[in-house]
Structures are given as structure tokens and as C-alpha cells.
């Protein structure tokens, strides 16, 4: 578990370097990646399905990103991109392809649909949080709170 979270941190950090994030943003982005993976693993341990865990992780990481983007005055993408990478279902993509070339089309379809569902659920999590954030910001501006 600890090794996993540390690996996620390093993986996000590496992607921060590839995407050229600099300064303290880099550390906050890597921490975001670790947080996303931590939530995903905890949720799996609690017996949730893979898709649900993915959803919760995506909500956690995008909430974190929206908050810290406002504190550090930087685009939200800076954090979301680096943190999202570990959760992208690369494994699902690979197994879908592998089953297809070895001739097991039914399994390939099954894994393929699961992979699509994971990717879709990731985006729904981000959409949900960012829409709610926008609504809160508009509400506060409208009523001048």
C-alpha cells in the first residue's frame, strides 16, 4: 500500500517533468497523483468495484486540483493532468488488445467495455467537480458573498 502510493507519487512527478511543470506546482501535482491512487486503493479495499473506486479517486483528485489551483493561482490542468495519468486504464487497453490478437474476442470485448467504463467514469468525476465548482463561483459572484 505504502509502496503503491509512493510509486504513484513518483509516477506523477515523472509526468510533471515530462509536461514541464516547474517549482512548487510540481510537488503539489505529484501529491495529487498520490492522493488519487490512495483513494482508489482504499476504496478497492473497502470492497467497492473497480469502476466505483475509479470514480471516487477522480472526484478526490479533481477536488484537490480545483482547490489548489485557486490557492496557487495556476490552471487546474496543471494538477489534473499529472494526477490523472496513473489512473488511466493502460492495463485495460493492453489486455483488450492482447485478447483480441490471441483470438479470444469475447474476453477482449468484455475487458474493452470495462476499460471504456473506467475512462468514462474518470471523466464524469472531473466533470462533476468542475461543474459544481463553477456553480459555486457563479453563485458567490451573483450574490456578492
Amino acid at each position: 500500500m505504502i509502496i503503491d502510493v509512493v510509486s504513484a507519487f513518483i509516477a506523477s512527478f515523472a509526468f510533471g517533468i515530462i509536461f514541464n511543470i516547474k517549482g512548487k506546482n510540481l510537488f503539489f501535482a505529484s501529491f495529487c497523483g498520490a492522493l488519487g491512487w490512495f483513494v482508489y486503493k482504499i476504496s478497492l479495499k473497502l470492497g467497492n468495484s473497480d469502476t466505483t473506486s475509479m470514480f471516487l479517486a477522480s472526484i478526490a483528485l479533481s477536488t484537490y486540483s480545483e482547490i489548489f489551483a485557486r490557492i496557487l493561482k495556476t490552471p487546474v490542468t496543471t494538477f489534473v493532468v499529472a494526477a490523472l495519468i496513473p489512473l488511466v486504464p493502460g492495463g485495460g487497453m493492453y489486455y483488450t488488445m492482447y485478447e483480441a490478437i490471441t483470438g479470444d474476442i469475447i474476453t477482449s470485448l468484455e475487458i474493452g467495455i470495462k476499460t471504456l467504463a473506467s475512462a468514462g467514469v474518470l471523466s464524469i468525476g472531473i466533470i462533476l467537480v468542475s461543474t459544481i465548482t463553477k456553480a459555486i463561483v457563479k453563485y458567490r459572484r451573483y450574490y456578492k458573498i
Binding site: F15, P86, Y98, S130
Partner: protein
């Protein structure tokens, strides 16, 4: 006040942001913010991943300009800097010339050197292998595959190969090296090695931007990015698939 200069200035800022992977709505917002800060009455702009159309109306005079975006890479630091700069025009009382100098400074800023990028790609591949349950030997193999793949990726970028094709080549190399590492007994589990290494090629930014553009209402940009993400994903599958299926069919199994 010269409306021409301001229009070129705002599209220059927009160009920097789009070339480095910003969302469409952020580019439009930033461009309008810059024009407004310098006193243009009615600026308007439309940005897609491949072009910017921008116009400015001021005291009965209307100008417009089209800027094509031909190269696209990812550099989040530049987006952050331009975004920050555009927000603080009024606070810092920039003149048009000063602002142009600042933008040029950002545009010419160096990114992390290729060596550092390659090294961290390798470290990324290593930690992804751990993340997906690979052992120490698998991670070591993924480390070296990451080094080689990122090197090829950067070289392909230099000669201007399109990203779809270079993804196929890179993932084919990944699959080949992974098979090699199994045959040479360096790694134990081929699935983990390949998955760890292809995570470097996964279209993370395209996915994120596709989502963010679509919910911001920029449907054209959203669809364009979604297609990009999908093509890259297909490219990864095709590249690894061709090599693996060739190997299985020729040598009868992995």
C-alpha cells in the same frame, strides 16, 4: 492606442497557450482579457486546437486575424506563466511593448533538458510497473525500455513525424524490447513490463482537455481532442499488437 498591435499581442499569447496544450476556453478568455486590459471596446475570439480566429472592434474600426497552430506539444509551465501574466496587466501597469517583451521571454524559456526528460520517463515507467504489480526485475526492464522509447519519441518529434505514427513506432519498440527482456531472462512478467512502459504513451493531456473543453461548451475542440486521444490509444494498441501477434504467429507463443 493601436488596435493592430493589441490584436497581434493577444493572438501571440493565445498561440503560445494553444501550442503548449491549454484548453480552448482558457485561451479565448485570456485573449479577451488582454485586449480589454489594453482598452479595446469589443474583443472577441474563437480558438480550436488547430487555429485561432480573433477580432477587435474599437470606435467604429474593426480588425480581425487568423492564426494557424501547426505544432503542438505539452508545456504546462508556459500556460501557467501566460495565464498569470494576463491576469496581472492592470496591477503591474504594463505597456504594450513591455507585455510583448514578457511574452517573448516566456516563449523562449527553456524546458527541462532532454536528458532529464528521458531519465524521468524511465523512472516513470519503473514506478508504473510497481503500481500495476510488477516485480523488481520487471521494473528494471521497464526502466530501460522507458529510456529507449522516450529517446525515440524525442527524435521523432525533432524530424516532425506526426504523433499518431510515432506512437505506433514507440509502442512497437516497447513490445519488441519487452519480449526481448523476457527471452533474455531479465524480466519475469511480460504484461507488467509492457503496461508499465506504454503508460508513457497514454494520451493523458488529450483526455483531460477533451473533457474540459466539452463541459466548457467548446464542442468542436472537445471532439477534436477526443479524436486525438482515441487515435493515440488505437496507435498504442496497434503498435504493441502487431509485434506481439507477429511473434506469437512466427515463434508460437511468448
Amino acid at each position: 492606442m493601436n488596435i493592430n498591435d493589441i490584436l497581434h499581442l493577444s493572438t501571440y499569447a493565445g498561440k503560445i497557450m494553444l501550442e503548449n496544450g491549454a484548453e480552448a476556453y482558457r485561451v479565448e478568455e485570456t485573449m479577451n482579457k488582454i485586449s480589454e486590459a489594453f482598452g479595446v471596446e469589443k474583443p472577441d475570439s474563437y480558438a480550436t486546437p488547430t487555429a485561432i480566429i480573433s477580432s477587435a472592434s474599437h470606435k467604429g474600426e474593426t480588425k480581425s486575424v487568423v492564426v494557424r497552430i501547426l505544432k503542438r506539444s505539452v508545456n504546462l509551465e508556459k500556460i501557467h506563466r501566460v495565464n498569470d501574466l494576463a491576469r496581472n496587466i492592470k496591477n503591474n501597469n504594463y505597456t504594450v511593448e513591455e507585455f510583448k517583451e514578457k511574452l517573448k521571454e516566456i516563449d523562449n524559456e527553456k524546458r527541462y533538458s532532454n536528458k532529464v526528460t528521458i531519465l524521468f520517463s524511465a523512472i516513470g515507467a519503473l514506478s508504473f510497473t510497481f503500481l500495476f504489480g510488477g516485480g523488481l526485475k520487471d521494473a528494471a526492464a521497464a526502466f530501460f525500455i522507458g529510456l529507449i522509447v522516450k529517446f525515440f519519441d524525442i527524435e521523432a518529434d525533432k524530424i516532425g513525424l506526426n504523433s499518431f505514427f510515432s506512437t505506433i513506432i514507440c509502442s512497437a519498440i516497447t513490445a519488441f524490447l519487452a519480449i526481448l527482456s523476457i527471452k533474455l531472462n531479465i524480466a519475469a512478467d511480460i504484461d507488467k513490463v509492457i503496461i508499465g512502459s506504454i503508460m508513457l504513451l497514454v494520451p493523458g493531456l488529450a483526455i483531460t482537455n477533451a473533457i474540459r473543453d466539452t463541459i466548457a461548451g467548446d464542442l468542436i475542440s472537445g471532439i477534436a481532442r477526443a479524436v486525438e486521444a482515441f487515435l493515440i490509444a488505437i496507435g498504442v494498441a496497434a503498435g504493441t499488437g502487431v509485434v506481439l501477434s507477429f511473434w506469437i504467429n512466427t515463434f508460437g507463443g511468448l
